[in-house]
Symmetry: none
Subunit: 132 residues, 4 copies
Amino acid sequence: MNITLKQAEALIEKAKSKAVELDTKMNISIVDAGANQVAFVRMDGAWLGSADIALKKAKTARFFDMPSGEIGKISQPGESLFNIEHSNGGLITFPGGLPLKNKDGEIIGAVGVSGSTVENDHAVASAAAQAM
Amino acid sequence: MNITLKQAEALIEKAKSKAVELDTKMNISIVDAGANQVAFVRMDGAWLGSADIALKKAKTARFFDMPSGEIGKISQPGESLFNIEHSNGGLITFPGGLPLKNKDGEIIGAVGVSGSTVENDHAVASAAAQAM
Amino acid sequence: MNITLKQAEALIEKAKSKAVELDTKMNISIVDAGANQVAFVRMDGAWLGSADIALKKAKTARFFDMPSGEIGKISQPGESLFNIEHSNGGLITFPGGLPLKNKDGEIIGAVGVSGSTVENDHAVASAAAQAM
Amino acid sequence: MNITLKQAEALIEKAKSKAVELDTKMNISIVDAGANQVAFVRMDGAWLGSADIALKKAKTARFFDMPSGEIGKISQPGESLFNIEHSNGGLITFPGGLPLKNKDGEIIGAVGVSGSTVENDHAVASAAAQAM
């Protein structure tokens, strides 16, 4: 049970449309069930530093099968997973990473989006996730 | 002078078509003039380990403005650039990486392909580079 | 649209003059539009550990097209980009990194300065950025 | 006993002049007695991938107090230091790195040059080293 490239490309198109609608320029990454990247695009003029962040958000979402921002809530000082970001070659734990599920609810990958506010990043990732 | 996402996506389609024609499954990476990744796809069933190789081939081709395989010829034991692969966080110096030039002959990025024999990798990268 | 070495060297001279004026010893790094280093100097007696920080500040400013310190404000515990520093091989998000713009307002690189208080680092980076 | 920034900048000017004379575009790095970078320039249009190589050549020359190419001779397959390049975060052991000595013959740093053939790289590094 793994996302296909065709599915990933369709999600990226959805994400790009949402990014344009929000007047933003995004980096968009899709990983599969094994947390390995399937497809990536950087929109013209999008932040260079957001490419790695988009990938790390997608990996983080699949590593723990939850939205990246959920991990960020419990990685704060004093919380149970403080500084979990040091694992796995670097996690990104603010919003913009979401697991991707098939019709049966099985996780088949994840999407990560970076290039604007975390609210916009999350909105674009959600547009992709909901298109599954 | 930088490749656009639209151009990168068109090259990836060309590369995918060539990969299908050769009955191969490829990882295809496009970087811009600054050697930063613009777009990437991994075809269904393509080797997982070839994603990083495709990116490193593209970076290598842009880092030195020549086909990755040209560097490999002179990085052999006893040759002038032996073990250059230890630089830049890891180079890949066998064929499959090619600079991308615009109509004026300026280098605006590079393509890297990995997933089959180096002959096939090079053929798919060439299909992309010639489509510029 | 990329900074030239001649421009970078002129900026470094401005930065060094400002550093002397402030009675500080600085590491000064200039990167181009692709976030690749163009020029670097470490003033005699400047902190050894600040060389990498100067480069990472310059890269951070170009990665996100804003002063490095702006990112630091929103990467604090509880803020929206907490622990973004784990991306891109390590960001530095306190002041001292600034984008460099040409006359048309296009970003053509960035400067990073480290070696004293963040106020002094920022003052020296500003002296360089304003000399563009 | 350490190279000063003023000395390093003078050597870089010598190296740039030699690079122009040879019709090449070079990356030039100077490290101090502690193998820490003092100054660096990338000439306009020089290979992006040669920045890291120039630094690694300079570090290699100071790490072992001999020309980088001397190490390359004994790091070949079957030789005594085979694959020493895996140490120290990556060595570069072909020509282009040279120790820098003061009048008393003490090593006070090293120069590394990359951007052309190893013969040209070595010639530009030599021009710098002889200017001490």
